[in-house]
């Protein structure tokens, strides 16, 4: 007989009161055993047709954005682009499920989510182009900078949501992470803080199967990433990340729960990265073609389009209009990125401190003199 065989199912009667007494029954916090789906279920019939068509349009335009940005890296116009091709359902929902006063905390792969949030599509690429860090106004757009060090944006989301709640303002923060990011300490610290502070935060993990080359099985031995929520005392939800209406339903519910004081939620969206990690990666080294092909059958746009056509919500004209919208965006990206950007070297010294240090002033003057000499001024 092991210790586990003695595990009590309910709090032990007569347990001493105080800081260490048992807190909560975990079962309501556990994720569903199979991912939540809307497409192909009766829930689809009940969904708002306007919302469904809007999601469809966003998926189509988002796919084109991903493709064009990837092409721009091949032409050397973008320094790097971590495409979210195949993950568009998560991306377009995450960006659109928030209210204007809410905050999005994206990671490097989430440019499309940033665009769906309302950030200008070209400004969202400034960092990846290499002109400047961030490139959009995080305060005006309520969108934190794209975050490169894994999971480090998660505690920021908690702190911001906590601060808003202290001020009595109904702000929700949504932090986006990858499956690999869930192994980082900051992810765990953020979940723990969020639960203890009852902060209005939603953590969205896009489990796309790989952290660069490392498959999920080498990343975590948990039954699901959503299960990790339970240990911190928050609900975990598991959703089909390629089913846009399902992602919308689950995220909207979690956001609402957070806004109404119900605390944080961890959502795991099961999805797949159809392209390589970035343009610098060779995905054939670590995964089989057959696997990619199978996931192409589960493409978020394909799933959505099939279902919308079946029920007569989508016709060729609507589909063509969405495609055209994507083409216009792609044309704008090409035009903008083929022009050489104007950059100001003096910007290097701006915004390091509120007041530049004497050392920075000296160095700015030095660079200025170098540039003047070069220009024969």
């Amino acid at each position: 007989m092991t210790v586990l065989d003695h595990r009590p199912t309910a709090p032990v009667p007569g347990w001493l009161p105080g800081a260490t007494s048992p807190r909560t029954d975990p079962s309501p916090l556990l994720p569903d055993s199979s991912p939540v789906r809307v497409l192909g279920t009766p829930a689809f019939q009940k969904a708002d047709p306007e919302l469904l068509l809007d999601l469809y349009r966003r998926l189509v335009v988002g796919r084109r954005y991903n493709q064009q940005a990837t092409t721009l890296t091949k032409q050397g116009r973008l320094a790097v682009y971590p495409a979210s091709t195949g993950q568009e359902a998560c991306q377009v929902v995450a960006g659109s499920v928030l209210q204007p006063q809410d905050w999005l905390f994206p990671s490097y792969r989430d440019t499309l989510a940033v665009v769906s949030r309302g950030v200008d599509p070209l400004e969202a690429l400034t960092l990846l182009r290499g002109n400047a860090h961030t490139g959009y106004d995080p305060v005006a757009t309520r969108t934190a900078p794209l975050c490169t060090p894994l999971a480090t944006q998660a505690p920021h989301a908690v702190g911001l949501a906590h601060a808003a709640r202290l001020r009595g303002e109904p702000v929700v923060a949504l932090a986006m992470l990858g499956d690999g990011g869930t192994s980082e300490g900051d992810f765990h610290e953020a979940l723990n803080f969020a639960a203890v502070l009852n902060a209005p935060v939603v953590f969205l993990v896009q489990n796309n199967g790989y952290a660069i080359s490392v498959p999920l099985t080498r990343q975590s031995a948990a039954p699901s990433l959503a299960h990790k929520a339970v240990g911190y005392g928050m609900p975990g939800r598991l959703v089909d990340g390629n089913d846009a209406p399902a992602v919308h339903a689950v995220l909207a519910e979690a956001v609402e729960r957070a806004r109404s004081g119900g605390g944080p939620t961890l959502v795991e969206a099961l999805t797949y990265r159809l392209e390589a990690h970035t343009n610098a990666d060779d995905a054939t080294r670590y995964r089989e073609d057959a696997e990619v092909t199978a996931w192409r059958e589960h493409d978020p746009i394909l799933l959505m389009e099939r279902e919308l056509r079946d029920c007569g919500l989508l016709d060729d004209a609507v589909a063509a209009a969405a495609t055209e919208q994507g083409e216009q965006l792609a044309a704008r990206m090409r035009a903008e990125f083929h022009a050489e950007p104007e950059l100001d070297p003096a910007s290097l010294f701006r915004h390091v401190y509120a007041e530049p240090t004497p050392q920075l002033l000296e160095q700015a003057a030095q660079l200025d003199a170098e540039l003047a000499a070069e220009a024969g001024r």
Binding site: P138, P145, A154, P155, G159, L160, N192, F193, V352, A354
Partner: protein, 335 residues
């Protein structure tokens, strides 16, 4: 500790710990955006009692006992700052701030720059640092060089009771992130504190003692040692000035160079390790800028390049009066 609650007006005798407490309290009273967070800062008042009584006065939300996770503490403070609060973080001991290093370097220090000024980080990170209190390992590190080597951070360290108050007020008021290093062996040092005195801006060095022979350049825990050395040096005919940097970033090149040029001889004293330390930067700077005024090389007196020693050996490591006087003797440079 009831004296701590009367912070208005009068000059009174105070320990450095009490001065820091008063600075926190006065900042919190003046600005409702100032929030403290850290381990044990609430009911306990911090392991050094620097936050004593603040949870009682301002509530558990403004003096927040957090879970035990330094990256989580600082990362959460970043989000709070993004939402317009002015967080003051307490790291319990120098060596326990390291788990938060990534948040500090990648986000606190860079956020203003990454966002073209849209997200300043008015965070003060208080870290008790340095040795000399008989602490076991991981309780005596001098970590200032790590922080000073990170663009975007201010690095401040008071050496007097008055500066503990004034510089902490200034740090909390600063729109830039400040790593505020508290020399823990001076926590119980006592002096007159005038809370009504003008608050010095961050970034100015102060001459604690004038002299005609040479200058000892120092900061934080080494200031009292240097003052003692200057006293002792009189017997050997040396009239030493003592310069307290107070702030390592921004660095007060002007005052430092002025003093060195006028005296021609300088010794840099700090207790952290010498290799790649702040003293190396100062010596290089002074040499570059004051070479023709120097009558001798700039000499460093620092701790050894070893992990901080066990408490029963720490007195061998920490620069004391004799080691400083030996260095001063070497300033009798004849080429």
């Amino acid at each position: 500790m009831s004296t701590l609650t009367q912070t208005s007006g009068a000059t009174r005798t105070s320990t450095m710990a009490q001065a820091l407490n008063a600075a926190l309290r006065d900042s919190m009273r003046e600005d409702p955006g100032v929030h403290l967070l850290g381990e044990d800062v609430g009911a306990l008042g911090g392991v050094f009692r620097i936050t004593d009584g603040l949870a009682a006065e301002f509530g558990a939300d403004r003096c927040l006992d957090t879970p035990l996770a330094e990256a989580g503490i600082l990362g959460t403070a970043i989000g709070m700052a993004m939402y317009g609060l002015r967080p003051v973080v307490e790291m319990q001991f120098d060596a326990f701030a390291y788990p938060a290093m990534e948040q500090l370097v990648s986000h606190v220090a860079k956020m203003r720059n990454r966002t073209a000024g849209r997200l300043p980080m008015p965070i003060t990170i208080r870290i008790p640092y340095g040795g000399g209190i008989g602490g076991v390992e991981h309780h005596s590190d001098s970590s200032e060089a790590y922080y000073a080597g990170t663009p975007g951070l201010h690095v401040v360290t008071p050496a007097t009771v008055q500066d503990a108050y004034g510089l902490l007020r200034a740090s909390i008021a600063s729109d830039d992130p400040v790593v505020f290093l508290e020399p823990k062996r001076l926590y119980w040092s006592k002096a007159e504190l005038d809370v009504a005195a003008a608050v010095e801006p961050v970034g100015k060095a102060v001459l604690r003692r004038t002299g005609r022979s040479a200058v000892l350049i120092t900061y934080g825990p080494s200031l009292p040692v240097c003052l003692e050395a200057a006293q002792a040096a009189q017997a050997e005919g040396w009239d030493l000035a003592v310069l307290d940097l107070r702030s390592l970033v921004p660095f007060d090149d002007r005052t430092v160079c002025e003093v060195v040029r006028s005296l021609g001889r300088a010794v840099v004293v700090h207790e952290s390790t010498g290799f790649g330390g702040v003293g190396a930067e100062i010596a290089a700077r002074v040499t570059e800028r004051c070479f023709h005024h120097l009558a001798a090389p700039v000499i460093r007196v620092t701790g050894f390049d070893i992990p901080y020693p066990p408490p029963m050996l720490e007195h061998h490591h920490l620069p004391g009066v004799d080691r400083i006087l030996d260095a001063v003797a070497r300033l009798q440079w004849e080429g």
